[in-house]
């Protein structure tokens, strides 16, 4: 189930990324919420107002300036919503072996996690996972797609605004 959710958000984010000016995307299910902006502390809030993912160079896990910016915003956002827990998933492009990419994806997730922790987010709020090359967000086989797929994606786990 979780996979499907992450996939849906990923697709949304990709659409947004393709547009020249990011604009809120209205979809059937989330239409009511979307017209009023995303629920603070929700996945949608993270995607639209913070940025849910950082990108890496080929076979690298060091954080670019842009990645540092995104993760800094994520850390601040996580401190604003202390009840939110997240999963950081590390991913790779398809040009590597299954096993090596599992390790590389783990390393990327860990790089993002370590940064968030260094910025004061409690480690107990962050889970990490590696999907290796098995969860591409861009489905093509070219440099542009591979650049999108070398990432660490943060997703909100178990956030329930109704419970508050």
């Amino acid at each position: 189930m979780k996979f499907r959710l992450i996939g849906a958000f990923a697709a949304l984010a990709l659409l947004a990324a393709c547009a020249t000016t990011p604009k809120p995307t209205t979809t059937g299910a989330g239409a009511t919420a979307a017209t009023q902006g995303p629920v603070p502390g929700s996945q949608q809030d993270l995607v639209q107002n913070v940025g849910d993912r950082v990108f890496f160079a080929f076979d690298q896990s060091n954080l670019s300036e842009e990645a540092v910016g995104t993760l800094t915003r994520q850390a601040a956002w996580l401190q604003k919503f202390p009840e939110v827990k997240v999963l950081v998933a590390g991913n790779c492009d398809e040009r590597g072996t299954e096993e090596y990419n599992l390790a590389l994806g783990w390393r990327r997730a860990n790089a993002a996690r370590d940064f968030l922790v260094a910025k004061g987010v409690s480690p107990s709020r962050i889970e990490t996972i590696s999907y290796g090359k098995d969860r591409p967000v861009a489905l093509g086989s070219n440099e542009q797609a591979w650049a999108q797929n070398r990432n660490a994606i943060t997703s909100v786990q178990g956030f329930n605004p109704q419970a508050k």
């Binding site: 398809e94 072996t97 096993e99 090596y100 599992l102 590696s130």
Partner: protein, 455 residues
């Protein structure tokens, strides 16, 4: 994980209720010397496959006739698939196979160029059981090399064919065959954005493909136990990627060990009492050996770099593995206690997925060099590297039990942003680099694992 029990019954039929009693040796005209003279050098045979005649077996009744035809087909397909045999077109046969009651009319088989002849007899099945008799003849010296009878459940007829093909292979080439084996693999279906991955298992020739898991969770990297009817594999069950064992008899899954993080890249030790795997820790991964039973874990490497894809040498004394400790992914060999790691890959490019040959003399690997991926083999000290096959990506080499053939996975690139054109297929190739073949699977496939001989 209810879904993991999906195809239990199919498996039981295929394995637990095995062949009842093979090997009744039938009168063998000239034992000993005949066998020696029949051994043909495999490397020479590469250029000239052995011409062999496999007429349909004699059959006593309708049901038996279907089985006879099927069994002869399995044998012929196995032998021709090896690239080392050339089954002769039955339309050129002179002597009617049905007329071969005792001894063949040698001249009739010599004249069509047959070096070997396979004959046999299938009895009409009774109470679900069938008796299959076969004889292998060496045509030039005019002698019988082998005569064997198998009694089994009629539903096992394909296995009888594979077992006979193995006997033929061994008697004519002097080394054990690999036809009575299975392939575990990952079945991939659905669009690239939502790929469903299921553990699957099939006969070595692609027949009897069955799913073992229902696809709820991604699964990867099935690996056979050397003797027990069991797999190790990676499951994302509960969204936590960890190594599990899968009992092929009961369909039961059990978590291997108790590790806080991700475990992956499992392989059994040659005797099956241990599993060697990778454990993700911090920014790297360590190679760890888990002793089954006690579940005690011993670390062979630290996790200051990526250390993965460990694989034992067949004698269990060494381990080859993949590491980026020197800055890029390369191949290494260390002692089984983790001491004395030595890099063995020094060619151009990035190296991955080393797998030790069952013969002990070669390591198969994946090499990425610029834009292309290659499947290669090298000596265990890294010398004599050769690339056997290439592709957009290739991955997951696995040896057949005699080390003669490697199966692997090859992908094709997506041709547009929807992922169309992306495929993942299983391919086999002889270690000489000849006889590359697509392995038929009902869906796309990846991560093949070749089982040991079943009998």
């Amino acid at each position: 994980m209810q879904g993991c029990l999906f195809s239990r019954r199919g498996l039981l039929a295929g394995s637990a209720a095995l062949l009842m009693a093979p090997v009744v040796t039938i009168a063998q005209t000239s034992p000993g010397s005949g066998a020696e003279s029949a051994v043909i050098d495999v490397n020479r045979a590469q250029a000239e496959p052995i011409p062999i005649a496999i007429p349909f077996f004699n059959a006593a009744g309708d049901k038996a006739a279907d089985l006879a035809k099927g069994i002869a087909g399995v044998i012929s397909n196995d032998l021709s698939g090896s690239g080392l045999f050339r089954p002769i077109d039955p339309s050129s046969f002179v002597q009617d196979a049905a007329a071969i009651a005792t001894v063949p009319k040698w001249q009739d088989w010599k004249v069509i160029g047959a070096r070997a002849l396979v004959t046999g007899k299938v009895d009409q099945p009774t109470a679900g059981n069938v008796r299959v008799e076969f004889r292998l003849w060496d045509v030039l010296p005019e002698q019988q090399l082998q005569g064997t009878a198998y009694t089994t459940a009629a539903s096992n007829w394909r296995r009888v064919g594979h077992m006979i093909a193995d006997v033929i292979y061994e008697r004519l080439l002097g080394e054990k065959g690999y036809f009575d084996t299975r392939i575990a693999y990952v079945s991939e279906a659905g669009p690239r954005s939502a790929r469903i991955r299921r553990l699957a298992i099939m006969d070595q020739d692609g027949a009897n493909s069955t799913f073992l898991t229902d696809g709820e969770w991604t699964v990867l990297e099935p690996r056979f136990h050397p003797t027990k009817n069991e797999l190790a594999f990676l499951s994302y069950a509960g969204n936590r990627p960890r190594v599990y064992l899968f009992d092929l008899g009961s369909g039961r899954e059990s978590l291997l060990g108790n590790f806080p993080g991700m475990t992956f890249a499992p392989r059994f030790s040659p005797r099956g009492e241990k599993v060697i795997l990778s454990e993700a820790q911090g920014s790297g991964s360590a190679i760890v050996v888990v002793t089954l039973g006690s579940m005690s874990a011993v670390r062979l490497t630290d996790a200051s770099a990526i250390n993965t894809s460990p694989c034992y040498s067949p004698d269990g004394s060494q381990v080859t593995f993949n590491s980026d400790r020197d800055g890029s992914p390369q191949l290494y060999v260390m002692n089984a206690d983790g001491s004395n790691p030595k890099r063995i890959s020094y060619g151009q490019g990035r190296y991955f997925s080393p797998v030790w040959s069952p013969r002990g003399d070669l390591v198969a690997f994946i090499r990425q060099n610029g834009g292309s991926f290659g499947l290669g083999v090298m000596n265990t000290d890294g010398t004599a590297e050769r690339i056997l096959s290439e592709g957009f990506t290739v991955d997951s080499p696995t040896f057949c039990p005699n080390g003669r053939v490697i199966m692997f996975c090859r992908t094709t690139p997506a041709t547009n942003a929807t992922g169309a054109g992306h495929t993942s297929r299983l391919v086999s190739i002889d270690i000489t680099g000849f006889n590359e073949r697509m392995v038929e699977t009902p869906t796309d496939g990846s991560d093949p694992a070749w089982s040991p001989l079943l009998s």
